[in-house]
């Protein structure tokens, strides 16, 4: 009776989202009376193994095969299939990262299963989990149960648990030589497109624009507000895709993660992919035409209405306030 939790890494450097998954697994383990073990796929003497073994886990399984040196969905799926068959877990818990999205549904499918993916919390109903996930771009939440026999595959959204709550302890390290069949894809080295010339993680105030800004010319409106506040300008993904602002201004899972003192979201609906990049801001202000936009769920202050009406008034008032 056990839970397996996936430890994701790049060249033996931990992806911090995995610690959140450890916390989720430890918490579920306590509620359901299941022991938690970690799984690290790696080809070498992974420097991460010792670090992970310092947490309160039953075992740390190191899945070894030279084909696990650099990530591919085929190699990871084979490694996981091997580990699951050998250990028969009740639950497999992972962070909902881009890498997990690439291989985890494949592993589940090999066992005739699917993921309950991108969950934000769970509740224990007499030994069965009810998992909550966001649907319709975050506008609604759904409570989900899983039927059938174990293993159950669950992934949690970034920020659903706090990684620094991972309980320390000690665990036994066990190496498993896993079988990996021929790979149908050849990876090249990962690279960073353009090194971010603007480091928004150090900004005190951020004014961010989304689809509601409507055109490239209107960016100037947001820029004026940013200037008045002494803020940096940022954007959600569609704005950078349209090249209205450079990609180094993008906030969210595919861009920068920020936690400024104040974050002002102009015409940003608040898709999950954006929210994970800014929800830890001290104060969140949302101005949006759509009263049901999910951004209002995490906002401290909200104005429902046209940003082109609100912003000029704000600029005027800020100038007055600053004297």
């Amino acid at each position: 009776m056990s839970i397996l939790v996936f430890i994701e890494h790049k060249n033996c450097v931990l992806n911090k989202a995995s610690l959140e998954a450890v916390v989720a697994a430890q918490s579920i383990g306590k509620d359901l009376g299941l022991k938690v073990s970690a799984v690290i796929p790696c080809s070498q003497d992974c420097a991460l193994v010792q670090e992970i073994s310092q947490y309160d886990l039953e075992k740390v399984f190191v899945a070894k095969n030279e084909k696990l040196n650099i990530y591919t969905p085929d190699a990871y799926a084979d490694a996981w299939e091997h580990i699951i068959k050998q250990t028969n877990p009740n639950y497999v818990v992972m962070a909902h990262t881009y890498q997990v999205r690439d291989f985890a549904p494949k592993v589940a499918a090999r066992f005739g299963k699917e993921l309950v993916g991108d969950c934000i919390r769970y509740t224990n109903n007499g030994g069965k989990l009810t998992l909550t996930r966001r649907i319709f771009l975050g506008k609604l939440e759904a409570d989900v149960t899983i039927e059938g026999a174990a293993p159950y595959f669950v992934t949690f959204q970034a920020g659903a648990f706090r990684g620094d709550n991972a309980e320390k302890g000690s665990s036994q390290i066990e190496t498993i030589e896993v079988e990996v069949k021929d790979l149908r894809m050849t990876p090249e080295e990962p690279f960073q497109e353009a090194k971010a010339s603007v480091d928004l993680s150090k900004s005190n105030i951020i004014v961010a624009v989304g689809r509601g800004i409507k055109s490239q010319e209107n960016i100037a409106v947001a820029q004026q507000l940013a200037d008045a506040l002494g803020a940096d300008l940022a954007a959600s993904r569609p704005i950078c895709d349209a090249e209205w602002l450079p990609i180094d201004r993008q906030i969210g899972s595919s861009g920068q993660t920020v936690a400024p003192k104040v974050y002002i979201a102009l015409g940003i609906s608040g898709a999950i992919q954006h929210i994970v990049g800014m929800k830890n801001a001290g104060t969140i202000v949302a101005i949006n035409k759509d009263a049901e936009a999910p951004i209002f769920d995490i906002a401290d202050y909200g104005i429902v209405g046209d940003l082109f009406e609100a912003v000029p008034t704000m600029i005027e008032e800020i100038k007055k306030a600053k004297g």
Binding site: T72, P73, T97, Y98, D102, F103, A104, P105, K106, A108, A109, K113, E114, L115, F136, L137, L140, E141, D143, V144, T145, E147, G148, R184, M185, P187, E188, E189, P190, F191, Q192, E193, A194, A196, L229, R237, P238, S253, S254, Q256, V262, G282, I284, A286, P294, F296, D297, I298, A299, D300, Y301, G302, I303, V304, G305, A310, T313, M314, E317, I318
Partner: protein
């Protein structure tokens, strides 16, 4: 070369959503629909790949109610060659594995060289139909694809995957393969008048699927508005200018950044 593009009809981005009376989904009556955003990019990328290759066929496929035919007709007008409609009246009642299995059965005999989908749907957002489908068809998958090296197309294809935090990676995949496409990969074309006229003569084949009992489905028990984690102060009460004045006051007195 044959490319199958999977596309889904979803609630319009701006639609006001109401929870259905059984609280298991939304009330689908009286809401407008649109093609799932990333699926539109999947179609565009398949058309560009076919054009670069000089020959080939783009087959668009959807699983959904009769109303989802609009998605197929629109894709045919943009340049897809023919369409397959897997007719399912309440697709939201199917779990991702069931959806993937049903599509796999419908398209297996097409023996496509490539299958494109959007990276996830904007309604249920399972984000796994493509990956499970690839596994069921015995072909490799690449998710969150943000660029294709069209020149490389042959027995394999070189593609660029988006990783997190501004990182990317190129992979070369043996074909056949399934790719899930990220929004924003390219500029989506409009349907021309000529395209719309031509689409009327293109084939849309209906497939009436049979469902096996699937014991491991995830089941939606209850749908509701998100629980608020924060108390939001709504300002202005409908008067935007008044709200803006109040907001600056709050920034000064409560947040103290001015």
């Amino acid at each position: 070369m044959k490319i199958i593009v999977l596309m889904k009809q979803v609630a319009n981005k701006d639609a006001i959503l109401r929870v259905s009376s059984d609280e298991k989904w939304i009330d689908e009556s009286n809401i407008s629909h649109q093609t799932n955003e990333s699926d539109g990019y999947a179609l565009e990328e398949s058309l560009r790949l076919k054009e670069a290759n000089g020959e080939g066929e783009v087959v668009v496929c959807t699983l959904g109610a009769q109303s989802a035919k609009t998605v197929l007709k629109d894709a045919l007008a943009r340049g897809a060659d023919r369409a397959i409609h897997v007719v399912v009246n309440e697709p939201n009642k199917l779990s991702p594995y069931q959806i993937a299995k049903t599509i796999a059965d419908a398209i297996r005999d097409e023996n496509a060289d490539l299958i494109f989908t959007g990276l996830q749907s904007d309604d249920a957002s399972y984000g796994q139909t493509g990956v499970i489908l690839a596994e069921l068809l015995g072909i490799p998958n690449a998710t969150i694809v943000i660029d294709l090296d069209r020149e490389s197309l042959g027995d394999s294809l070189r593609l660029k995957r988006e990783l997190e935090s501004g990182w990317y990676q190129w992979f070369t995949y043996k074909l056949p393969a399934l790719l899930t496409i990220q929004s924003g990969i390219s500029q989506i074309r409009y349907a021309s008048l000529k395209g719309i006229m031509a689409a009327k003569k293109k084939e849309i084949r209906d497939v009436m699927p049979e469902f096996d009992n699937y014991a491991s489905a995830q089941k939606i028990e209850k749908v509701y508005l998100p629980l608020k984690t924060k108390q939001t102060q709504m300002l202005g009460g409908g008067d935007v200018k008044k709200g803006a004045v109040e907001l600056v006051e709050k920034l000064k007195t409560e947040v103290r950044v001015l």
